[in-house]
Symmetry: C2
């Protein structure tokens, strides 16, 4: 069966300020040493399995040019611009109707554009396993990540260890982000995986689930689907899409549907949730500093320093994140990354749009 992918690239993440801006969100940044951006890595990663013409990118209209620029081999019509952000269910539905228009049916992988994966071959193996399960019935397959600490920032998925199919397990239920005590309990049971937001299903399967659980959305998507390829395509999208219910695929479908399977993913997944991730994905030097750019460090250790041409001299400092850009510099204690959003709030309150 034909394999397709929908890469979701509409995020506007603020956690990588000042490198990430409204005009340049995280998925379009390079955080790895090779200089390739997150979305470029995402596409390259799945290319052994999927033709370029079968890769779709859903994003905000504002980022269309960035996608074209960073993925010049992608057919421009595969960039699906949402007229308004409507969470993941409409986004996935829009991808599905495009794929349904192109192929009678197909396998559809849904992938975030701003995660990193260390072991690509193991990741591809997981996708292949997922395809097999998705192909042989009306199954919804998700890829879970084995938790190694009680993270409270992710959703969890409980599986049934005694109901397996190859490498996959039947899903018992999707659960929201837990508090730390609950997260610890989840970890102890060994029956919960992190929800990575990666899914595999047939286009027909997800559409029939949308019809069952989100019938109004299904009707809207059907109208959009009918108009694809006609002169009305943009007009219908513009009119119908913003009226679709804003709901996540987890809440709208996965928490209600049957026949959900989960594959425990063991491929060095990282959601690159803050500047601290740079330490995990880049090599540090003998002093524990991870540096990029024109940097001199003196008696300084365990810092993350991202600069450019401008000289940055670090003297006697420890456990800091320093990010220098053309118009703004961040100096942040490693323990304070959640407070970066307060800088952005301050900038918003003061209408300093140029820094957002």
């Amino acid at each position: 069966m034909k394999k397709t992918a929908l890469i979701m690239a509409g995020g506007r993440g603020e956690r990588f300020w000042p490198k990430s801006r409204r005009s340049l969100p995280k998925q379009f940044l390079s955080l790895t040493a090779d200089g390739r951006t997150m979305i470029q890595l995402t596409v390259e990663r799945i290319r052994p399995l999927i033709q370029m013409e079968d890769i779709y990118i859903s994003t905000n209209r504002a980022y269309r040019d960035l996608v074209l620029e960073q993925l010049p081999e992608l057919p421009p019509e595969n960039i699906l611009c949402e007229p308004a952000g409507r969470n993941t269910a409409p986004c996935i539905g829009l991808g599905a109707v495009h794929m349904a228009k192109k192929y009678e049916d197909a396998l559809m992988m849904v992938l975030p554009s701003d995660h990193l994966i260390k072991y690509n071959q193991m990741f591809l193996n997981a996708l292949k396993d997922g395809c097999s399960i998705a192909e042989k019935g009306s199954n919804l397959v998700t890829i879970g990540i084995t938790p190694d600490y009680p993270e409270t920032g992710y959703g969890y998925i409980k599986f049934r260890p005694d109901e397996s199919d190859g490498n996959a397990y039947a899903v018992d239920r999707f659960v929201e982000k837990p508090d730390v005590e609950t997260a610890k309990e989840y970890l102890a049971t060994e029956e919960y995986l992190w929800n990575s937001g990666m899914f595999i299903w047939k286009v027909s399967t997800i559409l029939s689930n949308i019809r069952s659980f989100l019938p109004d959305m299904y009707d809207g998507l059907a109208k959009i689907g009918e108009a694809i390829g006609t002169q009305q395509q943009e007009i219908v999208l513009e009119k119908v899409f913003p009226e679709l219910e804003s709901v996540s695929i987890d809440y709208g479908i996965m928490e209600k549907a049957q026949d959900i399977f989960i594959l425990p993913g063991v491929f060095g997944w990282d959601d690159v949730g803050s500047w601290l991730a740079v330490e995990r994905i880049r090599k540090s030097n003998e002093s524990g500093n991870v540096v990029t750019g024109n940097i001199i460090t003196i008696h300084s250790k365990n810092n993350i320093i991202q600069g450019g041409n401008k000289l940055i001299a670090a003297v006697g400092i420890e456990d800091l994140i320093i990010v220098d850009t053309e118009d703004a510099t961040l100096i942040c204690d490693k323990g304070s990354t959640p407070d970066i959003k307060l800088v952005l709030e301050n900038l918003k309150i003061c209408n300093r749009e140029e820094y957002l």
Copy 2:
């Protein structure tokens, strides 16, 4: 008696890198809130006592234009450019022969160009006291600073508490920079003051002391003095000055001479020896941050942040010095200011002249 001043402005201090550079040493920087540079403040401070035409600036030729620019009212011929750095004795000698050429004799104050003084009126009173003592004999007068902690970076001057003349005491001896134990002993005796490098004497007195203790230097200075105002002035200076012995006034004269008096100076003196001084001379905000420029601080305290137009966001940081300039940024722990020189050594070794 005519009052003159020699302001020594040849220093190339590296402690205020990256704001101070070879092309812009500390004395030409503004570190106070009013925007005036150290040398401008030094001149303004003594103007109630001394005519502009009687103020001389000794400096390196490279800084002549900076002096002209920052002190536009100074007669250009009062800028004495040393063809080569030869420590303070030749520098002071050069000033003295210029003053001797202009006036038969005069009072000469010798002042550093890169110190700050909080209470100008008390400082002027000390200078006046010094002038009185210098005027009434062949006395060498120095202004000492009452030490309030056992600083090891300054020379000390021991005085004789039982031999006073007005506010001044007879000097027992000049001593080199002590180790911390010795400095503590000095502090305990209450008979030592810090050597501030400020002197007052008659031009005739210092020249006769140079003749006694540094006769070769005296001969050289005499040749330079004869040529002043002639077409040979620059040629003689260029030829003779670099051959003068490189020696400090302390070692060459003060440690050997008689009739030295010291005035304990109580006028809020600060030698502005490192970026830490900024905290003493500028107001901090309620979080203890001393900031200049376009700065946002979030949960950050007791930092010194010197920026410009570029936005600097400080998040969760403490006790740091951050100095941003056009081409270089310093991030330094407050306890590590002496290590800033290691940055400069690194830059020298790597021939990165553009940052020096």
